[in-house]
Amino acid sequence: MCAVNTIAAEWIKLRTLRSTWWALGIGVLLSLALTMLGATTVISRWDPGRTPDQAAMGIIVAVYVGVILGQLPFGMLGTMTISGEYASGMIDTTLVAMPSRGRVLVAKAAVLGGAATAASLLIAIPGYLFGRLVAAEFHPSLLPAEVWKVIGGGTLMIAATTLLGLALGAILRNGAVATAALVAIVLLLPFVANMLPWGEEVNSFLPTWPALQLIEQLPDIMPTWAAFTVLAGWAVVPLLIAVIVQRLLASRGGAD
């Protein structure tokens, strides 16, 4: 009962800010444009012997490259959702209305996760239909079994980045710092790790390589189940840390 009220309130908060729609709109439109451009280029180079299943897989892979591109705006939406409340001081009003910090954070995660997944479908579905149109001569099958790994991996990556953004915003409480940390974890560290001797081991535990492996953009360095586990971990563990950090800060009381 109470959890429903908290989630409903956070959903109202999320959709009554214009910045939410800007972040989602930019993420969706930019990714969709790049998906269509990429799919056209890739499909035009296919050899004519492609089977219908291979064609369907190729389309889904092209689409999810686009979906992954949408992750940074969505991740920044995650940080803004909480850092904006710290910046304005409205977090106090939130906590007077809903005194459980943990429950507020979980409610924010629920509505953000839902919004990010819905937005990823707004990229994937039009992108998929467009891809089928361009690849019509290969008679792609509908959704062969192996595409679900790509769809699952891409969707989980979007959700994980968004929730990681929220967790970083909750821990660091400053939008600019949290965004910088997000970019470092999702983009810079995987790139840097690649140049290190044990880069592959490091990258196995960062979110980006497992996601790109699942959507067939990088060679496999771990089993599929491990890639899914690492991604799911990035969606959940930073949020748990954020809940614990907020508890500690609340008991000390000095940070507010």
């Binding site: 009220n5 908290t6 001081g89 009003t93 906590l95 007077v96 609340a250 009381g253």
Partner: protein, 234 residues
Amino acid sequence: MIEVSGLTKHFRQTPAVDDLTFTVSPGRITGFLGPNGAGKTTTMRLILGLDRPTAGRATVNGMSYQHLERPLTQVGALLDATAVQGGRRAEQHLWWLARSNGISRQRIGGLLELVGLGDAGHKRVGGFSLGMKQRLGLAAALLGDPEVLLLDEPINGLDPEGIRWMRDLLKSLAAEGRTILVSSHLMSEMAVTADHLIVVGRGRLLADAKITEFVRPGASLEDVFMEVVGKCAP
């Protein structure tokens, strides 16, 4: 009813609130006075569970704030009226607050009328003056029709008409039997608004008395306040 007992809050080593004990009773306006940094806001934050006390406890209707069911229906608070996200419209701000405590959205229109924002409900809060934000904050505090009200400097930024309106509103709310704790720096205003006074300085309780007992005949509230606060200065 608000009960504060042995309430203490240290920020690092400095005590902001130091062994404070008092009761705020229903049916009257209790003025909460003290110089800057006396610990008024910290005390209110501790009552609302926004900070955790180093020692002692504060309860509302016999319970600590965190354990209240649908807290906005029991306690209304106005802390910092400017602490709102400017991108939302006034009615949207009240809408999420209402929804968070299962309060009917139907109340919002009437409340905006009551606080004099009937025409501004569709406007974004970012464009509001301080006085308008105070009115919105009061609407937020009254959203759940609470028995207990905590208002931190609610008349800051209000125009003379607004100050008189706030005074009359608080008096009528107290007459309905509500518990009202209101802080202010404006002695002349407190002198005509409050029935009871709690005076703090450097985190300690300096006075807890009926205003008629606190202010001697012939002296002003300001005179007596300066005298009491001066005694506790280092």
